[in-house]
């Protein structure tokens, strides 16, 4: 036990005073009482410190941030990915270019890849370490094979970490257990910091004496002489200032800690606690995270020279920062290697070889903080439905999201690259944008861009910019109409002619076309693909505003929708994510598929806490949706969306819809391919006018995105009860392929025209055709 300073003073005085006077009984009584009081205080203090130690050690020792992962890349024959995207993805997941045989490295020559995975514990099972070979040819994986490890036709790479949810003190760490740490790490640590760790009782008086001597010589505190236990106590419980009282507390607590806990337990806590660097406001604690942070590798894969560097850095993580001061760091590392050799941990040959190696630190941290602020924002809002903020910040949860880094990259590029070219002058400066990309058939949100600067974690327009949707509403008006095939088909003539609506309170409303012209009767499919306003309002009023509203709600719109007729021209406001939700059902033959950003959440040990499963809900007649999809494809080929093919090659078939609001305040585009659904919005934060329309603002962003991503064309399966027929819309009759005005359109059974028109223009009742059908 360490003596208190007050009692030692008395001890020194007593021998001097005792021979001179005879007041011994009084004196001794005083000494005894003072001593007793001192002891009681000391005992009380010790009990207090003991409680401090045990309460911290018995409870949760560390607040560990939650980790947010991108979706893992699935590799198999036929997987769609470009070679450059695969290489970028490997980089994000912490792979390094190398020989392809060490775990965490890959080798590339042309389109040929050899990849050695590290293995990963997924919520649904472990993906073991494997060595893979594959070729990327024409943006597809070919010749996929497992060279070593468990054979499988499909393998998941470890997912990229895309963010974290940090405790308020901003300490970041990856907890490690002593058993999983390479044996060389603790032995090296002891050789350098505390040779007698396994023998002392928490403090090493000899070391302290040595340090004290050095301090006296230097006239200031230059040496610690602290044991690992003392260092842990200092970091864990005490302030950083070097006072005597703190020193005394440190020693006392070290003794208590050793009394209560095993050496192994103390060592493990030390390995997880020690401060090893800084990344912005976030501190890098523990060897587990430091290994990731400096080498991009898991602790178990570190080599001797890397272990030596990390152990060397304990003395001064910023002074020996290998990225900033590589020379100092190398010197320090080599000193540690000498100590390792001296302690017999490695032989002289290996030590010399290790000293000759470069530091081997990764160029930058393997993941940067908050690389995808808008996406993480949406993830956090989804998490908030089921998790408390404080648990997210401290429980070390693992959150597996649906973010696809390659798609996110393409979306960010499309926004930043296109926005600068739209409009000019002040308007250009003020232009903002947002984009949402989802997987068409699963509703997984693959990418989210919240503004023209995707790195800026501010106003998230994809979620918080609620704007009138303009003509994006039209497919839903026509869908509601086409669900009544006895009244509406794609070739039903609709009236493109102005009219005035008078309300009960005397107000009047006179909708207009965008180009102010009127065309008289036009077939329904053309009214939609060319986005004429007057027919949309007429059809909407005919089937009822309430029916259109019900349709929107069935497709997943939960925000309030006005029943004023102006809603038929899209006065209803929505954010881009809601628009994506609503269009999901159009893209998938009427199946509403809730958007998801999270697949699973597990606790720190990998135990599943929540799964967010795929859900589908049929909300519309697939036949009617198919007809709307036809007109939305026509939009891209002949209508308001055709300028997409300035950017997108013709071979990629797409479907979509433009949206514009008054004075170009909002420019929208929503559309889909076979794989992806994307919504883009361009406008100003101050809701000011622009010179843009849906076709000239949001569409260039959208098509720029689509052009970059390998994907399948949109080609829907014809649903039951729909037949494609050659028709002449003007004559409202069936016709033959090469006749004038012939157009192949899908029709719901029973809604076909009853007449045929020959190429020469003669009408006749549809009897032959009916007979043909019977015997076909």
């Amino acid at each position: 036990m360490k003596k208190s300073t007050s009692s030692s003073k008395h001890n020194r005085k007593t021998p001097r005073k005792s021979p001179r006077n005879g007041r011994r009984p009084w004196f001794w009584r005083f000494v005894f009482r003072a001593g007793a009081i001192g002891l009681v205080l000391l005992a009380g203090w010790t009990v207090y410190l003991d409680a401090v130690i045990t309460s911290r050690f018995e409870g949760r020792r560390f607040e560990v941030p939650s980790r947010v992962y991108a979706r893992p890349l699935e590799l198999y024959d036929g997987a769609g990915i470009s070679a450059s995207a695969l290489e970028r993805e490997l980089g994000l997941s912490g792979f390094r270019k190398g020989d392809g045989s060490r775990a965490g490295t890959y080798q590339r020559s042309g389109g040929r890849f050899i990849i050695s995975t590290r293995g990963f514990q997924f919520p649904d099972g472990k993906e073991p370490r494997r060595r893979l070979a594959l070729t990327v040819y024409r943006d597809r994986v070919e010749n996929f094979s497992v060279l070593s490890g468990d054979a499988s036709p499909i393998v998941r790479l470890e997912p990229a970490q895309i963010g974290g949810i940090y405790p308020s003190h901003k300490e970041d760490r990856i907890l490690v257990q002593l058993e999983e740490v390479p044996a060389l790490l603790p032995t090296t640590l002891m050789a350098v910091e505390d040779r007698n760790f396994f023998d002392h009782v928490g403090i090493a008086p000899l070391s302290i004496a040595r340090a004290m001597l050095a301090n006296i010589r230097a006239g200031q505190i230059v040496q610690g002489g602290s044991t690992l236990t003392q260092q842990l106590v200092k970091n864990f419980f005490l302030t950083r200032d070097q006072t005597l009282v703190r020193k005394a507390n440190e020693a006392l607590m070290s003794l208590l800690l050793e009394l209560h806990y095993e050496k192994g337990d103390i060592l493990e806590t030390y390995l997880n606690e020690v401060y090893l660097g800084q990344a912005g406001t976030r501190s890098i604690n523990g060897f587990g995270l430091a290994s990731q942070f400096y080498f991009g590798e898991s602790l178990r894969d570190l080599q001797e020279h890397q272990i030596a560097l990390l152990v060397g850095m304990v003395k001064g993580p910023s002074y020996y920062n290998p990225r900033r001061h590589p020379e100092r760091a190398t010197k320090r590392r080599n000193l540690v290697l000498s100590e390792m050799e001296e302690a017999g941990l490695i032989d002289s040959v290996r030590a010399a070889k290790a000293k000759g190696k470069p530091l081997g630190v990764s160029a930058r941290p393997s993941y940067s903080e908050n690389r995808y602020p808008a996406y993480i924002d949406l993830v956090r809002r989804h998490l908030a439905r089921d998790y408390r903020e404080e648990d997210l910040r401290s429980e070390g949860l693992r959150i597996f999201t649906t973010l696809n880094p390659a798609i996110q990259y393409a979306a960010e590029y499309a926004v930043t690259d296109t926005l600068g070219r739209l409009a000019s002058g002040e308007t250009r400066e003020a232009l903002e944008a947002a984009m949402v990309v989802t997987a068409k058939d699963s509703g997984e949100v693959l990418a989210l861009v919240g503004g023209r600067d995707p790195q800026y974690a501010g106003f998230n327009r994809a979620l918080d910019a609620n704007r009138p949707i303009g003509s994006l509403i039209k497919p839903f008006i026509y869908l509601a109409a086409l669900e009544q095939p006895e009244r509406y088909t794609l070739i039903t003539p609709v009236l493109d002619k102005s009219f005035t609506l008078e309300f009960d309170d005397g107000r009047r409303w006179q909708p207009k076309n965008y180009d102010k012209t009127e065309r008289g009767e036009v077939p329904l499919h053309e009214a939609l693909s060319h986005s004429y306003n007057l027919p949309a309002v007429r059809v909407g009023l005919d089937i009822g505003v309430d029916v259109v509203k019900d349709t929107l709600q069935a497709f997943g719109v939960t925000s309030s929708i006005s029943e004023y007729p102006s809603m038929l021209l899209g006065s209803v406001t929505m954010n881009p994510v809601t628009v994506a939700q609503m269009y999901q059902g159009l893209a998938t033959s009427g199946f509403n598929t809730p958007l998801r950003t999270i697949r699973e959440v597990t606790d720190a040990g990998g135990e599943a806490l929540s799964r967010y499963s795929l859900e589908v809900d049929q909300v519309a007649d697939p036949a009617a949706v198919h007809l709307v999809q036809y007109a939305m494809q026509e939009t891209m080929q002949e209508g308001t969306g055709k300028s997409a093919y300035y950017t997108v090659p013709e071979e990629l078939t797409l479907a979509g819809k433009t949206g514009t609001t008054d004075d170009g305040r909002d420019s929208w585009f929503a559309g889909f391919s076979g794989d992806l659904l994307a919504v883009s919005w361009v406008g100003r934060d101050d809701n000011g006018p622009t010179s843009l329309t849906g076709a000239s603002g949001a569409l260039p962003v959208w098509s720029r995105f689509m052009a970059q991503v390998p994907q399948h064309s949109f080609s829907p399966v014809v649903p039951d009860g729909v037949q494609y027929q050659w028709v002449n819309a003007e004559r409202q009759a069936l016709t033959k392929e090469h006749c004038n005005g012939a157009r192949m359109v899908p029709l719901i059974s029973g809604s076909e025209p009853t007449q045929t028109v020959s190429c020469s223009g003669n009408l006749q009742r549809q009897i032959e055709g009916w007979f043909e059908g019977l015997f076909r």
Binding site: S82, D139, D515, K642, V718
Partner: protein, 188 residues
């Protein structure tokens, strides 16, 4: 349980010869300009022709002449995708898990399969089967409908889909709906 048996027999029929219909991976895929060569770097940004600054038309209804009118008409097809070997292997894993009574794990496998084969009716019928096994019949019915929407002109898939639907509806007490579905199956 009688219904359960019926459902299994129907789905077993649907998946008889599942491996047989596995084909070479997928149909043609769109390859972005500049990345078709295996060793191609990032798509060039300064040089490619679509990167040139362009004057975008202000009109939302551009004239027919610009750009050149497309010759193609809206696309459609008669049936969904067949399964890739990778998807087949995940479905087989799911089958094993289902046989072991671990429906949640089977669902996780099937969702992986769905992500790589989102236009195959088979995947959705399998998901339906897994939800039947975990007694979530409403969800199962929806996945059957989704599968049917992709079965197209494939009579075998149509038939097993409608039979599956009939069984699920009957188990949910929707006798009329079940009869209707059964009638559809027998017409195929």
């Amino acid at each position: 349980m009688n219904t359960r048996f019926l459902i299994y027999s129907a789905t077993a029929a649907a998946f008889l010869g599942l491996a047989g219909c596995a084909s070479a991976p997928g149909e043609s895929i769109y390859v972005p300009v500049g990345s078709s060569k295996a060793e191609a770097p990032e798509p060039p940004r300064a040089s490619s022709k679509e990167d040139k600054p362009r004057v975008w038309r202000k009109s939302e209804q551009p004239e027919v002449s610009e750009p050149a009118p497309r010759s193609s008409s809206p696309s459609y097809r008669d049936a969904g995708d067949s399964l890739s070997p990778a998807a087949v292997s995940l479905i087989q894993e799911a089958d094993t898990l289902l046989a072991q009574g671990d429906a949640p794990a089977a669902i996780a496998r099937l969702e992986r399969a769905q992500r790589i084969a989102p236009r195959s009716a088979e995947v959705y019928f399998k998901l339906s089967e897994a939800y039947v096994a975990s007694n979530q019949l409403g969800t199962a019915e929806q996945f059957t409908l989704k599968g049917l929407s992709l079965a197209g002109s494939n009579a075998r898939l149509q038939r097993s889909g409608w039979l599956l639907l009939a069984d699920i509806r009957r188990a949910r007490g929707n006798v009329a709906g079940a009869d209707q579905a059964e009638a559809r199956a027998s017409r195929l």
